[in-house]
């Protein structure tokens, strides 16, 4: 009987929109596998070996693919890489293309830690994929106003806060992911960012993605 009441009480709580908003999950909560991998000490040499299966898409040197379909990973913060890999593994970030290639049968937690350290230390290559360059002023205005606060004046991101380096990333990739974030389809987007870019038009996104793709990597 007591259990029944408890279940009923929980059901009431969950069905209340007001309360549901109050108990919304914390963005990027550090627990489970994410916590485990972040605690492990990565080894770059082992990471290079484990990265072999990743380079089929992300290419040697982790430059990403020339088309921008696959992002550049070279020079990205290890914390961000671990956040994204574990989110893709857990299904939190929706990425059906990559998920099977990064699941527990392919990569161990230690290998993820190794890969993250390896990639973080790779030299950032010259930008391979820029946008059309037709609205850079608008892109800069948007970036300075809304993005630089978290992603940094030069697009360097923030290792400790899990904000990714965006400077020099492929334009096509930046635009695609920005759309997914705006439209609530990425899965693990920071709600603060969603709030900011929700009102952006496609043209706004294209302008700011183009601007970021041209920032000089720090």
């Amino acid at each position: 009987m007591r259990t029944g009441l408890l279940a009923l009480a929980l059901l009431t709580v969950w069905s209340s929109p007001l309360l549901a908003a109050d108990v919304a999950p914390v963005w990027n909560e550090i627990k489970g596998e994410k916590l485990l991998v972040l605690k492990l000490k990565g080894d770059a040499a082992r990471g290079e070996e484990a990265f072999v299966t990743c380079q089929s898409c992300h290419r040697r040197g982790a430059t990403g693919s020339p088309s921008g379909m696959y992002p550049r990973l070279a020079g990205q913060h290890a914390t961000v890489l671990i956040e994204q890999m574990t989110d893709i593994r857990s299904g939190k970030r929706r990425n059906p293309k990559m998920a099977p290639f990064s699941d527990e049968h392919v990569l161990t937690p230690q290998e993820m830690a190794d890969i993250a350290v390896y990639l973080q230390g790779l030299p950032i290559p010259a930008n391979l994929g820029r946008g059309p360059g037709t609205a850079l002023g608008r892109g800069q205005d948007i970036y300075v106003r809304d993005c630089a606060n978290c992603h940094g004046d030069r697009g360097e991101g923030n290792r400790d806060k899990f904000y990714p380096l965006v400077a020099g990333q492929h334009f096509v990739y930046l635009l695609r992911e920005a759309r997914l974030v705006r439209d609530g389809e990425r899965g693990n987007a920071n709600p603060d960012m969603v709030r900011v870019i929700k009102r952006y038009s496609d043209d706004d996104l294209e302008a700011v993605a183009d601007y970021m793709s041209r920032l000089n990597s720090p």
Binding site: V52, T53, Q55, S56, C57, R60, M69, M98, P100, V106
Partner: protein
């Protein structure tokens, strides 16, 4: 006997070489050829494969992870030390090339091998199997392999008739029939 059990996977010499040759003669040569370059396209070429890869696959016929009515009884009669000898033996043989019959398909296959298919999410084969498709200890050599064998294996991955790594199961399901045929045609000529 003592020498062979202590010998790690590596170049075959002396007594071990004799033992390897003797195992190959009585167990392997009829299908795979004495030099590991089989002439029957349904039997894979083994010449030039990484010794550790060969030993691992042989062991998987014993554990049942890899299923083959032909290979299961043969490998059951051998032991892990023999597998190391066989790996070293076939790994040091000179691989032969096949003949490309469809030049257009081979050219498409070359492109696919180095680029994969970004739209359907097939990774480039080159990433794991290497620029020259020479493979390594984790991933097999594909260069010069019989096209028929390559095609059959990819279909086996698709249907789970061969229990693949997670990677190849996914890859085989994302590849089109035309892509499979093309990449096999390219690889056979390497």
């Amino acid at each position: 006997m003592l020498a062979s059990t202590l010998l790690p996977a590596g170049p075959v010499c002396g007594q071990s070489a004799d033992k390897a040759t003797s195992i190959v003669t009585s167990n392997c040569a009829a299908c795979h050829g004495m030099d590991g370059n089989s002439v029957v396209p349904t039997f894979p070429k083994l010449a030039g494969r990484h010794p550790e890869y060969i030993a691992r696959e042989l062991n998987e016929f014993v554990t049942g992870k890899r299923k083959s009515d032909i290979m299961a009884p043969i490998t059951a009669a051998l032991d892990p030390e023999d597998f190391k000898l066989l790996g070293a033996y076939f790994g040091s043989q000179k691989p032969t090339r096949g003949t490309v019959l469809d030049q257009k398909a081979a050219e498409e296959g070359r492109k696919f091998y180095f680029e994969g298919n970004e739209q359907s999410g097939v990774p480039a084969c080159e990433g794991c199997h290497g620029t020259d498709a020479q493979g390594g200890k984790r991933f097999p050599r594909l260069a010069g392999q019989h096209r028929e064998y390559l095609i059959e294996q990819i279909y086996n991955f698709r249907t789970n008739a061969r229990i693949a790594t997670r990677i190849m199961r996914e890859v085989s399901n994302r590849m089109t029939d035309a892509e499979i045929k093309a990449v096999a045609e390219y690889l056979t000529g390497l």
